[in-house]
Amino acid sequence: MEVFEDRLGSATMLRVVGRVDSAVAKLLESKVADVASRDGAIVVDLREMNYVSSAGLRSFIMLAKHARAKNRTISLCAMREEVAEIFEISGLLELFTIHDTVEAAIAGLPR
């Protein structure tokens, strides 16, 4: 797994690439804690995330909880179908704003 970070105005863009499981969850969690401590919206680009395990989901829940505690919007975008399914059956989709594409997510950012 790799996580790339980018800034778009006040928003933080995260691009997650590869498998997210217990072996890399720590890495994602520290990234999440770092990003969550800042202000501004968070957009997570999941085009290239091909698997997320239950340990990986924990990192996303943590991100959502931190964002929610600070009243910040967090969007997941361009999820693959199998990943979207994992999020769905885990009841986590409603924690996030979901966009089909990165462009849509950027368009949806508060101005």
Binding site: A23, S54, A55, L57, G91, L92, L95
Partner: protein
């Protein structure tokens, strides 16, 4: 008391100040001064029987250095009386005697005070033994210059009253000055040195005895051989300087002085000149060299010893500091260890407590066979399972996994387990129980805590299972013939994430002989040494292989496989399994 240290007229010892004490002090000094004048009389050389050294000068300077100007009267009177051999001379009338000896008395006082002033000025001290430069100041200032002052005044007095003819003024002056200077250098230094260090410990007594014995031996040898072997005194002086400090050196110088004068008087040794004056000069120069060399040696040696002592003291201090620091660190370590051991004890207690709330005896539940296990990654776990009876012969089954590990997770686990069980015992449906627990956890919950859980109700008679999966790993059902199926999640989030959330309840039927396998992701996500995960596929494989065995055997083989898979790694997460088989009705 006034600060007197800086004054020339201050007594360095700050001694007695009363009149009686003053008189007593003067009487003592007078006695010593007079005695010093008397003992030297047999050592007179030449027809006039004049001594080449005048010890009273040494007594006067030493007394003035040690006791201050209080004793000047004694010196004046002493010198006034010391002129008594003059009374034998025909031209001496009483007024003349008084006039002459008042003059020499003043000369003695001036000499002593000059000696004190110069030493104070150049060495800043009342003794000259600490530094080589002080020794030079003492010999040039307090001996030579002071004696020059005393000698000039004394010679003037003798000449003015007609005791010396005009033609002998120069010779008398030189003799006077050198005798006084030698007296100060040899006997003044001797008194000051021994006054400064009066304690007689073993080494100094032994050294003094050796010095005196050595001087006596050399003098005797010289008297016997009648050879000028005075150079043998040099090793004796070196010994004194190295072994016994200023006291040894001054003692040696005094002993050697007495020995060589004695020899010269007896006509032995290298200092017997053609005339008395020649002998004087030779002796005086020798005494000056002896004293100078000895004192210099003692001073240098003293400085070296002081430096050594300072170095040793410094090292000692460093060692002490190191020892103190070490002790401090040790103390801190001890405290840390105590604290650690307290924490360890606490954790051990928590572990026992935690294990004790997990049921282990399932024999009472008719129509089922149950096995369960929880292995914490750390001392305490964030996982739990639970099995408890509900009304109508049904069973409550739960498994849960708190995010995170350690004490915080364990605490959260205990809260969740207790809440879930008490909700279940109210007779509510699983979805309702779980919704209640979720609501409470959402309200009272730090931001990074949540828990995935499955709560199921099993009716062992019908096999009906009503269950809620709140974001937990998908349970496996084994049919006892090697077939497995995963019970898909149904969109419920973990507990403690979304408040006021409704939870979807699922139902299925566990056929007779079928097993329900519940586990936490410590099983499926156990990593091996290469970072690869155990995964659900491996678990299903084992389930298929051991599906026809007992719940206990199935569970143990799963745990065993996980352990072998992650051999060589530290257990990454809590590993928990709960296996329930519905018995085939008899």
């Amino acid at each position: 008391m006034l600060p007197q240290k800086a004054s020339l007229f201050a007594a360095p010892d700050g001694g007695p100040r009363s009149l009686a004490a003053w008189i007593l002090l003067n009487v003592v000094v007078l006695a010593v001064y007079s005695l010093a004048g008397l003992v030297i009389i047999p050592f007179g050389i030449g027809p006039a029987k004049v001594s080449p050294i005048y010890p009273p000068s040494g007594v006067a300077v030493a007394a003035a250095l040690i006791l201050g100007p209080r004793i000047l009267p004694a010196i004046f009177i002493g010198q006034f009386c010391n002129g008594f051999p003059m009374l034998d001379l025909p031209q001496t009338t009483l007024p003349i005697y008084a006039l002459t000896n008042s003059g020499t008395g003043v000369a003695s006082i001036a000499e002593a005070m000059t000696a004190v002033a110069l030493l104070r000025y150049f060495a800043g001290n009342w003794h000259p033994f600490d530094r080589a430069a002080h020794v030079v100041a003492f010999l040039l200032g307090s001996c030579l210059a002071a004696a020059a002052v005393g000698g000039a005044i004394g010679t003037l007095a003798l000449w003015a009253t007609g005791f010396i003819p005009d033609g002998e003024i120069g010779t008398t002056l030189v003799t006077f000055v050198l005798a006084d200077a030698s007296g100060i250098a040899v006997f003044g230094a001797l008194i000051v040195a021994w006054y400064r260090e009066p304690h007689l410990d073993r080494p100094i007594v032994v050294s003094a005895a050796l010095i005196l014995a050595g001087a006596l031996a050399i003098a005797s040898l010289e008297a016997w051989l009648r050879y000028p072997i005075d150079y043998l005194y040099l090793p004796l002086l070196l010994f004194a300087g190295f072994r016994a400090g200023p006291r040894g050196v001054t003692l040696a110088a005094a002993a050697i002085t007495i020995a060589v004068i004695h020899a010269a008087v007896a006509g032995i040794g290298p200092f017997v000149g053609r005339t008395a004056n020649e002998s004087f000069l030779l002796l005086q120069v020798f005494m000056a060299v002896i004293t100078f060399t000895g004192l210099l040696l003692a001073a240098v040696r003293g400085q070296q010893l002081a430096a050594d002592a300072a170095l040793i003291a410094h090292n000692l201090m460093l060692e002490q500091r190191v020892a103190e620091r070490t002790a401090e660190v040790a103390q801190k370590n001890r405290l840390l260890e105590e604290k650690q051991s307290r924490i360890d004890d606490d954790l051990k207690t928590a572990q026992i407590l935690q294990a004790s709330i997990l049921p282990t005896d399932f024999s009472a539940y008719a129509g089922t066979a149950i096995a369960a296990s929880m292995r914490p990654a750390l001392e305490v776990s964030g996982d739990f399972y639970d099995v408890f009876p509900l009304d109508g012969g049904r069973l409550g089954l739960a498994i849960a996994d708190v995010s995170g590990k350690g004490v915080a997770a364990a605490f959260f686990m205990a809260v969740t387990r207790t809440m879930l069980r008490s909700e279940a015992l109210t007779g509510r449906a699983p979805a309702e129980c779980v919704a209640h627990v979720n609501q409470t956890l959402c309200c009272e919950n730090p931001v990074d805590m949540f828990v995935t859980a499955i709560y199921a109700e099993l009716d062992a008679r019908s096999g009906a299972v009503n269950f809620v999966n709140a974001g937990h790993c998908e349970p496996i059902v084994l049919d006892g013939e090697g077939n497995t199926r995963l019970i898909k999640r149904s969109g419920n989030p973990p507990l403690g994430v979304m408040p006021k959330r409704a939870f979807v309840e699922r139902k299925f039927v566990l056929a007779p002989g079928e097993m329900l396998f519940l586990y936490t992701d410590g099983v499926t996500e156990a990593p091996n040494r290469d970072g690869e995960l155990f995964k659900t596929e491996r678990l299903l494989e084992i389930a298929r292989q051991f599906g026809c065995r007992s719940p206990q055997e199935l569970m143990l083989s799963v745990i065993d496989n996980v352990e072998r898979f992650s051999a060589g790694t530290v257990q990454a997460d809590d590993i928990t399994c709960l296996v329930v088989r519905r018995d085939v009705p008899a």
